[in-house]
Amino acid sequence: MAYGPHTNEDRARMLAAIGVESVDDLFADIPPSLRASKLELASPESEAELTVRLRGLASRNRVDLASFLGAGAYRHFTPAVVDQLLLRGEFYTAYTPYQPEISQGTLQTIYEYQSLMAELTGLDVVSASHYDGAAATAEAALMSCRATRRERVLVDRGVHPHYRETLCTYFGGASLVAEEIPLVAEGPAAGTTDLAVLERMLADADRPVAGVVVANPSFLGLLEPMAEVGRLAHAAGALFVAVVEPVSLAVLATPGDYGADIASGEGQSLGLPLSYGGPYLGILACREALVRGIPGRLVGMTTDVDGRRAFVMTLRAREQDIRRDKASSNICTNQALCALAAAMYLAALGPHGLRDVAALGAARAGELESALAAVGAPRLHPGPYLNEFAVRVPAAPAVHARLIERGILAGLPLARVLPDEPSLADALLVCATEVTTPDEIAAFAAALGDELAGAAGRGAAGREAAGREAAR
């Protein structure tokens, strides 16, 4: 099949076939006042001029900082083979082609992506992907409502605040209710899901719960008691949704291991650049029993009329163009290129490579914890973490800003995204991955140490000045 634009001859033939003089005549029904006219654009530039201008804009981004920022998007090393293969025309410019007659290659890559994510999550069914982790989590919550025919979902405060916000947006249109499960305030489990409160929330017989959504690791980097959450959820007839980080699944227990019914997560860690927020990759997986309720496209493997292996989009009757208002979702696409990048990344690394990425990140995080504690910024919570954790830093937002001037992106001041958690007002969420170097850790610790000592000095000087003032 030739891929070429229409020529004027093509257009003339088509117009003649339908008996129309010009293309404009086809828009005769639209009032002239509403028709698109000239767009207000700057005058055109040559490729060279435009390149210079865009480079100038791009140079205003800080890409020189030693970054310890995670909070849902992580720095990882992507082998060159991923970006190179993605550039292939068949992959790069094709928009989610699903006709099996001409798209066996693409369909196979989606099937492989689904298979790899099924292995990683330990669940049976994986969709062809969603927009991002937040959207996938919202869809997972909606799935739990449809499957149980209940309207109340409990979402842990340890789930990424952006995901919780997105979930509420999705719930807004329907008559569904999302309530937050609080975190334990103190003690050895501080910062993790409050299981006692969860149990009480599940016990309301008049308001049965459809799903319980908990992230592991949590937004604060802590490992959560997932098996226990699952047990409590199932005892109350609710489904268990696990929000997961894919690289961590190489070393942590998987949703399949701890009895989750649905798993959602962000696939950016799998070979996708940070790109200042996107495009990212929504992972959604579930047990086989829920296959008819999972939104999004599914690619399956079958045989054609000649008995050869073939890949097709399957279970189409779930989708909105067929099921309409009874469909699980309005999504009729996927993040094809991003899912392909993730599949390439996983294939390039293999299970051992992925485990090494996770383990090395964890090791670096341990070094980071020690280095920061040594300069006076200890961890906020006592529980185990993988590669991300919160540290106590007085006046964290101000310190964070000064550290940027010193070339360090010191994670995320938690007060910025969790303003209603007073315990996190003086905290930075920091992380390390396999690309974090010992030099970067040393530079961070030194700079932070300076800032804290300087602040202490300023604090002491301030108290002295206040004392003199009072004495006058």
């Binding site: 008819r292 189409r316 009757a317 067929i322 099921r323 009874k326």
Partner: protein, 126 residues
């Protein structure tokens, strides 16, 4: 020719009343229109249904169709074979493809249903 001893609805469902129990299925016409049926969702046993309520779903490769209750009452049985063999709706819609049984609350509701001749006239027009 559809079975003469059954009653029919405009939604292409058939009803066989034996005492208080109405056995319900879809006609061969419906099955043919739907195409290869791949999944059937039936109501839970014990569920109270009212006439014309949507009580289940029939899914084919190309379409999804609601199943409506032709009479009101209580669901007392559903065909467990359809879970593993939904194609029975295509191959034997009036026999092994029966879908569910309802204990009828008001037998008078059947009066409004079509007899075989009226149903055949309906499908002939289509």
């Amino acid at each position: 020719m559809v079975p003469q001893d059954l009653r029919y609805t405009k939604e292409h469902e058939w009803v066989r009343l034996e005492g208080e129990i109405a056995t319900i299925g879809i006609t061969d016409y419906a099955a043919e229109q739907l195409g290869d049926i791949v999944f059937v969702e039936l109501p839970d046993i014990g569920r109270a249904v009212s006439k014309l309520a949507a009580i289940g779903v029939i899914e084919s490769v190309k379409a999804v169709s609601d199943l409506f209750a032709p009479v009101g009452g209580e669901v007392v049985e559903s065909n467990a074979e359809l879970a593993g063999a939904p194609e029975l709706l295509n191959s034997d819609p009036f026999g092994k493809g029966w879908m569910l049984r309802i204990k009828v609350a008001d037998a008078g509701q059947l009066d409004g249903l079509l007899d075989a001749a009226a149903y055949e006239a309906l499908t002939a027009e289509a």
